[in-house]
């Protein structure tokens, strides 16, 4: 599969190196959208997964409405713990008046060299036509949050 959901392996290492700061006032994280099957810019197809190390324009969707190259800035939910699990999350993000077909997304650290955090696989193509494209993040808890370390 060209886009496979994963926490990027490089991100796990970078956590140990203190590269990423999810605290309020910490690093800025962005979400970029990607297409499969030649739907991206210049008919490129995204290949994203655990081996992805940084943001790439290959396979990124074309600019439309409020979506511009690089994607949108995410609003962080401060890291927390519950039981033995640490987690962090983001607020939902929307791109408006946009014509978009995307199969997945990449969360990356816009402050620190565009280093990859996680790949999201939408399972199928999601399409908005002159409309709203919303990515809803899960509830910020130990069972559902987007990034969890147990």
């Amino acid at each position: 599969m060209a886009i496979a959901q994963a926490m990027c392996t490089s991100f796990k290492q970078e956590l140990m190196l203190g590269t990423h700061n999810f605290a309020t006032g910490g690093n800025a994280f962005k979400l970029a959208l990607y297409a499969e099957g030649g739907g991206g810019k210049s008919s490129t197809t995204a290949t994203l997964g655990a081996a992805t190390t940084a943001y790439t324009t290959t396979g990124e969707i074309a600019d439309s409405g409020s979506y511009a190259a690089g994607g949108g800035t995410l609003t962080k939910v401060a890291p927390a713990t519950s039981g033995t699990t640490a987690f962090t999350d983001f607020a939902d993000i929307s791109f408006t008046t946009a014509t978009i077909t995307a199969m997945g997304a990449l969360i990356y650290n816009d402050t620190n060299g565009d280093k990859a955090v996680a790949v999201l696989d939408f399972s199928s193509n999601k399409t908005s036509t002159s409309g709203t494209f919303t990515v809803q993040f899960p509830t910020a808890d130990a069972s559902n949050a987007i990034i969890r370390i147990a």
Binding site: Q5, A6, M7, K12, D89, D92, T96, I100, A102, A105, A118, V119, L120, F122, K126, T127, S128, T129, S130, G131, T132, F133, T134, V135, Q136, F137, P138, T139, S143, N144, A145, I146, I147, R148, I149, A150
Partner: protein, 95 residues
Amino acid sequence: MFELGISNVGSVNVMTSDKGGLTNEQVADLAVDKIVSISDEAPAHIRQQANQFRDHLKHVLYHYLLLARKEERGTIIQALQSNGHKEMAEYIRRL
């Protein structure tokens, strides 16, 4: 070998619309998904009660979303009318 920790990536929902913004029902769905999550491992009677609560919550949210949009349109119409844009105000009233 033993494992000290497990890292996970959660699942996201994607909601899209055509020729306009999300509908009241879609926004209500987004809100309910954020408020209520039901474990697949919960006992059947708990799941049933949680699903009923979820349906009720969605109904209430939907109603108030409709009201919020209607009230905001009312405010915009009033602002347009008081600034001499009666045609535009009428157009928005018909939305």
